[in-house]
């Protein structure tokens, strides 16, 4: 693929080019998604240096194992962010001191009613995602926030919120599904296939 085409290439086409050793394609993927990946890692780890190392790891894996991305299973951004999130959580859970601090901070944040909408990126997306997040019952919003941005398991979230584990587990799923339904109803996103 000529370099000129990269800026207009689809994400799956970029990954095909990456599998053929086009470094420019990896650079373009980084330009598109590097900021989001870095933002998530830094948010979870509260440490820019470790976050940068994770970003490096995420994109080097894309370079070395591009076939792990399956466009039929979702967007490249969601794939990269899922990898980043999973690795960030690994780091958090392997660091007990940091973990205790994060738990304490996260609890404080939850009590202060931190708004998940502050995490969204630009005005267009913010508007739609804010609407979807606003539509969530408070319990679902808190559970998703603590689990996703705090890196906690649903059991830990249950302890933090003093709720039954089963309730928190259900709320994470129902909250994410409710967001999806709101965004689909608003024609902001569309999903193919079953479900």
């Amino acid at each position: 693929m000529p370099t000129d085409d990269l800026s207009t290439a689809s994400d799956p086409a970029l990954v095909v080019a990456i599998s053929r050793y086009h470094q420019d394609a990896l650079a373009e993927a980084y330009r598109r998604h590097g900021g989001a990946v870095f933002g998530l890692a830094r948010r979870l780890l509260s440490d820019s240096h470790v976050a940068e190392e994770l970003v490096q790891e995420v994109f080097l894996r894309l370079w070395n194992q591009p076939e792990k991305f399956d466009p039929a299973r979702g967007s490249l951004r969601a794939y990269l962010l899922a990898h980043c999130h999973s690795r960030s959580v690994d780091v958090l859970r392997s660091d007990t001191a940091r973990r205790r601090r994060e738990q304490r901070d996260a609890h404080r944040t939850a009590e202060a009613g931190y708004d998940i909408e502050h995490e969204v990126w630009d005005l267009t997306v913010a508007e739609h995602v804010r609407g979807a997040v606003d539509a969530l019952p408070k319990g679902e919003r808190e559970a998703i926030h603590l689990a996703y941005f705090g890196g906690h398991t649903y059991r830990e979230v249950a302890q933090l919120l003093d709720e039954p584990e089963g309730t928190v587990k259900s709320r994470i799923r129902s909250g994410l599904r409710r967001m999806r339904d709101t965004l689909v109803d608003a024609n902001y996103i569309a999903f193919g296939g079953e479900s």
């Binding site: 650079a27 933002g39 999973s86 630009d122």
Partner: protein, 234 residues
Amino acid sequence: MTHDELQELLGAYAIDAVERDEAAAVDAHLLECPRCRAEVAELREMAALLAHSGADAPDGVWDRISSSLTETPPPLRLEVRRPRQRLASIVTFAAAAAVIVVLAISVQRLGSQVDDLERGGQNATVAIAAQDAMTSPDARVARLTGPDGRVAVAVVRANGQGYFLGGGLPVLDHRIYQLWGATSSGQIASLGTLPGPGVYAFTADPSVSVVMVTEEASPVLSPTSAAIATGTLA
């Protein structure tokens, strides 16, 4: 765990909020449940929307990434494809065994429509070269057949230069054709994408013995559906 119990875990699973043993149970379940796989994919898209931070990608990190990339790619990239830990890829290809070796073979795509051939230019050059290859003593030829009979011809010369004569393929709407080469041991490599019917040039590793065509929504690294036409090089 029952299906309902596993399903209830999917939200927490999608955002890494389950214990290791629970994650392993969901992993195993996803291998056999397309419905739950689809749900996890959707839940992760939702999480990704929350994660948007609007931050720019740090420049210094890209410098470190680019400096650690392989300077020169090896002539053939052999990558063993392991079964996925989280999401199983649905490959309905008969030859797709537990291990698929993806060979990155460079592709030269020269044109897309038979109409272009009549107007000359690059396509005419390819068509002439393809005709030469068809009559060359060192070439192997495959007649690709699908449910409707013969639909295309592939010819590969001893030096790996190949041509795909697919002028008779139906025109696709919003989809593309993708050309694949398979070896007798079941390794599959993409040979390139074909936006529509036409004559194309490609290169293939000499070990490729079977040529196949699939229909895809976009370029993919392994086939996502059964081949519409298959032929053996002989």
